[in-house]
Symmetry: C2
Subunit: 389 residues, 2 copies
């Protein structure tokens, strides 16, 4: 096991109507909050907007709004939120939505306590040392941002996606009402599942040894995601499966499963470039790229891929030809994604030619080689994009 | 899954020489601390005492000492610690040791912020609303107190053991240097393993349904404890196994594995009475009682005991006679404890007759029936003590 420091101070509340607690939770922190949301049909028509406003008002919290967050959220909207916070003396940020809303709120939080431009944190010119507290009402189990120490933004002027990682970015509270997830459309549900499953694989595919505690936990959470995904694909309104996946999203990415392990993250870096260049949905990028990445690197750590195949996907081990077992595990991973309707090739997500592969590969490696299990340079990255065609 | 609220704000640091960070961590909180420890041979001869004192001094922290903590720690010593805190304006408590030291420190923390007697919290006359922050240097993976929300004390005047549960009691930091655990004698190592394994079973044996995420996680952590315990029984100085068990102790009891589940805890209540009446070591009491409890209750939830047998102990399932599979799982649990040299009967821990069984049974149930999987009254409790003879 590697040395580690781990903290996850977020207070998680999972219950019916958990969203209605937002007023009282915000009030413990501040009388003035910025309410960040998508401003989309779901927010208004599901009654979420009204319930949150009512909860804030009845708790005596004054609120300002920042709406219109898009998938792959933009730094431009974050800057507007920061202006509001600075002008209106906001003391707490409430994010009601999925990962894009929460990542936006986190960026506003650190930006509001900083004199320079918030992109400085994402371009690694600055490191956050203070933040406004961020609480969340999560509506879309996927990115795990509701419990994580990260935020990912897109800078459209620069054509870049980048992240910030700091324990300061962990939400102070996260309210989970499973009912809010019952009407998530199938494609978003599937991308969420791919995303959380990938968050575990990024930690699982490690070259660290003597990590059987976290191995078993990773495998357990992946098996649970498989079981609940199968249930959900039969009935999208399965309340129990939705509830388990809501909590899985947190566990997959609050880094408990990564404590004491070197982690990989190459696939996320490769996927981020698809989002930056083509605005590809994060889960779709991962669905296409993860099996290709695995096929590209598995020979560097066959025992790990055999263990994955056997323990997660119940593949019978061929001890004479472990390579075959490893490949069968990767085949079942791809099959799992495809069986839910997630894409398997770049063509399926509208990327018809390789004109940007080189640029994406170089951008993915702009801070150095990527990948903890196998170190990849821009040539490797380009190969993986080609395999995904 | 049941509704839940879960938070685990403790900052955990696991690394070589983690104990030497105590000065800087305390200094972030206060300039004056109470240093709580056993004052035993290990504390002084291992160099732990010197390293902590040096770390505190070089960080400029003034410290007072409370030493002499015993297993099944007494409220009388806690009262002395409270006096020191009140008199000397202590702002932080540093506990260096195992569960008894940490539980003592937690009790001092809440007692120092309370005008009445600290036992009020344990007798449920009062509920803590404030505490001095407690940091820990943990030396004995077992009780999980280094990450938990509980503290257990013994009141020798009243002949009672009792606990307090509150998120206020979660340590603010926990420093884990695996090297400190390399010299733990075999019997203490074994009792620690039994304790952490039991903490998971108390959560695993639940009547809650639709909990496969936490089921898989519980099973994974139990399997990891089995693997590392076998390694350690072969070589008590196995650094990797010690390290994994150190982190397992935290995961087993910070209640992540219990989130969304009704929990049992009958065996801990029964065991606490053995400690109160006979000063039985906690792990020894659990080793004797857990298999007996399981045999007494398993018919009320055969599928759960079958799942335990199959997934944790690799018992082949007899689908025609699931009861046999359930019993085989319990047999292997007992075998696991006995194989490490832990006791299997009350006789082995020096309890030769049944004269106190009735009193212990009634005391265990003094706040009402015990047990979440099967509700037990004093008659049931007495039966289980008899089975353990």
């Amino acid at each position: 096991m590697e040395s580690f420091e781990f903290m996850s101070p977020t207070k998680f509340i999972l219950q019916e109507d958990a969203d209605k607690l937002c007023g009282q939770e915000v009030k413990k922190i501040s009388d003035v909050c910025l309410f960040v949301h998508y401003g989309d049909d779901f927010t208004y028509k599901s009654g979420l907007y009204d319930r949150i406003v009512e909860s804030l008002e009845s708790a005596g919290v004054k609120y300002y709004e920042l709406s219109g967050v898009e998938p792959n959220p933009k730094v431009s909207l974050v800057r507007k939120g920061i202006e509001i916070c600075k002008a209106k003396n906001v003391g707490c940020i409430l994010a009601a939505g999925g990962g894009s809303v929460i990542d936006t709120a986190k960026a506003v939080g650190i930006g509001a306590k900083y004199d320079g431009d918030v992109w400085d944190f994402y371009s690694k010119k600055a490191y956050p040392i203070e933040t406004l507290p961020v609480g969340t009402v999560m509506t879309l189990p996927a990115t795990g941002s509701e419990g994580s120490r990260g935020s990912v933004l897109r800078n459209t002027e620069k054509g870049e996606s980048a992240d910030v990682l700091s324990d300061l970015l962990r939400p102070i509270f996260t309210l989970m009402n499973p009912e809010l997830t019952l009407t998530i459309p199938k494609h978003q549900t599937v991308y969420g599942i791919v995303d959380m499953f990938s968050h575990i694989m990024e930690r699982y595919f490690s070259c660290s040894v003597d990590v059987n505690l976290t191995d078993y936990m990773c495998e357990g959470v992946m098996k649970s995601i498989l079981v609940n995904s199968h249930a959900l694909m039969k009935d999208l309104s399965d309340y129990n499966a939705r509830t388990e996946l809501m909590w899985s999203s947190v566990i997959a990415h609050n880094d408990l499963l990564g404590a004491g392990r070197k982690q990989d993250w190459a696939t996320h870096m490769l996927g981020a470039q698809l989002s930056a260049q083509y605005n590809t949905v994060h889960g779709a990028a991962l669905s296409v790229l993860f099996p290709c990445w695995a096929e590209y690197v598995f020979k560097d750590n066959i025992p790990r891929f055999v263990q994955f195949a056997h323990r997660v996907f119940n593949v019978e081990v061929d001890f004479y030809q472990p390579e075959k077992t490893a490949l069968e595990g990767i085949r079942r991973l791809r099959e799992f994604f495809l069986s839910m309707g997630a894409p398997g090739t770049l063509g399926e997500i509208g990327i018809e030619n390789d004109e940007k592969f080189r640029k994406m590969a170089e951008d993915a490696c702009r801070f150095g080689n990527i990948g903890g299990l196998k170190s990849l340079d821009a040539d490797d990255a380009e190969q993986i994009y080609k395999m995904a065609q």
